[in-house]
Symmetry: C2
Subunit: 422 residues, 2 copies
């Protein structure tokens, strides 16, 4: 007879399923024939796969496999990879970025677990500080990361209708200003760019506004570039660019350029923050996986990161996006009251379905049974955020799938939701 | 001008260097010519490397690389790998172990970060519970993992002299019994087998005593098999075996069989604990690296795990161990007052140097300058453990190195420490 053990508060947190956990499980354990429009998995793009094959052969020629499998890299990361990342970011930003400003992490998710807990929760002075999410909805994977309850301060985005079936979130500057003037000590401010889930790109002006808010409150601005700049560059509107200023902590990931299996990401930040990330990496993980550091090195030094991003990955997703829009127009119009967030980056559509008789959270299992998976929007709102009517009406739909699966999945969504449409 | 950001208590913990962090940094950033007898890196054994080469070719033939690089595995782990691990442990234990009892983690270190925090710290009822280390000194990598201060309850081992230059730690059963009878609520009890750092193997009788202590206190018994059973099986005394009982949470690692770069480990436990580990994995890491799960699958299904462990790895380290003892006898005897813990497993010697005019923590940098690195024993004691005279007299010395490096390193230790010997 196995005894029932008591667990700590930390442990009991993980006895409950989380949004990101459910998503990752569903993603991996799919029934055959189900259209998976729910996950954040990048597509397997043949031209990208070819480049990985070349890299793997090169690593074999160089005799690198012995080290990839058989040696620990430093918790600070492989020196050559750090140099390659610093070099890339130096050229992109025009700033003198040093390797001491780069941390190599087990992906963006792992980086954010550390960063959100560095910069929220209980401080040495006894104050409890929250991480500001200035443009909610925000990435599902952040929501359960803070170790302490109620560590996120969400600022709901304003909604601007831009067409019959389109809308765009805007930064609620007035709320942010009130927050800036309040006496509450804050921990950090956090944004994904392009936004996961909405595909919105915060413009340079907006980024600078958030940065001055951060400066005023003396907190870091955590900016997550997983889908954006400089790689994989999945951004459809041409007038955006990447830049770096003091006070920002920026993260990058190899996942969306096509390497999610290697679990490797990078953080650009003040050397003190990088040093803390490295020390935490040693305690939590000993060190990072070697494969991503070796493949990443090839990717950066060969320049393939740039040509793949611009010439292969962006056009590939742009094509899927076009397909998604044409299927939606054909299959949904007249049957559903839908509004799609302006698609500016990443490979998701953030869709609001109005006039449904049930919430999308309730309809998730109906859709799954009917052979299509999406992610109910609710998961992208911190728990404290319950009054926004969008919470139950929105969903994130991925278009990073095969043509047939994407068309069929969108068509199924149309059919099922039409039955619940008033 | 970069502002100085305040950090949370969690963050400030990682602004300080830790034992494991320093060790991993020193390990990776070695000056040429320095004999590295400090790290926990396994040796690069040619016969083992050959097997990895075969596996990599097989994965290429099967077309697995597309998935290894381009897909996320489930946070619960790759199904086939879970089945292979369950099958292996079923055969070894004679018990009906199911896949729901296996978690795949980013190595043992990552597993223990989660487990130690599941089973120590503040509980829902407000009680603060500690993790009992019944045989201190204990693995350096655990010490900084608990999120809360003072979360480890160390029980110093008893010392039994077994020869002029040898000793053995024994479980302090009386102290453990007193602790068992005390009213203090505990979180868990933790042991590495063979012990990192001492190379001691707790016998089956001792394991059962610890298990009944755990049962009595209704806490889990966390047993770390990183160097032991069933793989890599680096155990020199023949009468020990692996077994599993309810109430145990056991961890295993691919690192010491020669795959530290893939960062993959396994946990065998009650399905509820496994489920919590999986959920925590999704939140902290999204999911584990794919390479280790694919290579591990080949390793287990081919049976290579067993033949490599028995026919290659154990004899290889046994040979190094023999060399280490002969160099020590030749180079140290008469110059140093040393005592070595009975070497029963793993690839370390735990050595006590008596009559030194400085602590080994102080002598670490002198030794490093003289071209040899070892790990001062102090790091293997929880911070609360200051009265044990062994703390400053002991060191962990790895013999998992090339013949020449090992001989030269041991010789340098002898020469340097002789100068500080009274």
């Amino acid at each position: 007879m196995i005894p029932k053990f008591s667990v700590s508060k930390f442990g009991s947190k993980f006895s409950r399923q989380t949004g990101i956990g459910q998503l990752m499980e569903d993603l991996a354990n799919l029934e055959p024939g189900v259209c998976m429009l729910g996950g954040g998995s990048p597509a397997l793009i043949p031209e990208v796969q070819e480049v990985w094959k070349e890299f793997l052969s090169k690593l074999a020629e160089k005799g690198s496999w012995e080290s990839i499998l058989g040696k620990y890299e430093s918790p600070s990361g492989k020196r050559e990879t750090l140099e390659a990342v610093a070099d890339l970011l130096r050229k992109e930003s025009g700033r003198s970025i040093r390797t001491e400003e780069i941390a190599i992490t087990g992906g963006s998710q792992n980086a954010f677990y550390l960063l959100l807990n560095f910069f929220s929760g209980t401080y040495e002075d006894g104050s409890k500080r929250r991480a500001v999410f200035p443009a909610v909805p925000e990435y599902i994977g952040y929501i359960d990361q803070p170790l302490e309850e109620d560590s996120i301060l969400p600022v709901p985005s304003l909604v601007r209708e831009t067409g019959e079936h389109t809308f765009r979130y805007e930064l609620d500057e007035a709320s942010l200003q009130r927050l800036g003037e309040s006496a509450e000590p804050l921990g950090c401010i956090v944004l994904s760019r392009p936004s996961n889930p909405t595909g919105r790109i915060a413009g340079e002006e907006e980024i600078r506004k958030i940065l001055s808010f951060a400066e005023k409150k003396r907190i870091p601005f955590l900016l997550d570039n997983a889908y954006g700049f400089p790689f994989p560059g999945i951004v459809y509107s041409g007038d955006n660019r990447w830049f770096y200023e003091d006070g920002m902590v920026q993260s990058f990931s190899l996942s969306k350029i096509g390497l999610p299996g290697v679990r490797t990401g990078f953080v650009l930040a003040d050397p003190k923050i990088v040093s803390s990330l490295n020390k935490a990496n040693a305690v939590l993980n000993l060190t990072g996986g070697s494969l991503g550091q070796y493949v990443g090195l090839e990717l950066f030094t060969s320049g393939a990161w740039s040509s793949l991003s611009k010439n292969v990955i962006l056009p590939y997703y742009a094509e899927k996006r076009k397909l998604a829009f044409s299927v939606i127009e054909r299959e949904w119009t007249g049957k559903l009251r839908y509004q799609i967030h302006e698609s500016e980056g990443a490979f998701f559509l953030w869709v609001r379905f109005r006039g449904l008789s049930k919430s999308l959270t309730e309809l998730y299992s109906v859709l799954k049974k009917s052979g299509v998976v999406l992610v109910p929007g609710r998961y992208f709102y911190p728990k404290s955020e319950v009054n926004d009517p969008f919470v139950d009406e929105c969903a994130r739909i991925s278009f990073a799938r095969d043509e047939e699966e994407l068309s069929e999945g969108l068509s199924r969504i149309g059919k099922v939701l039409a039955e619940y449409s008033e």
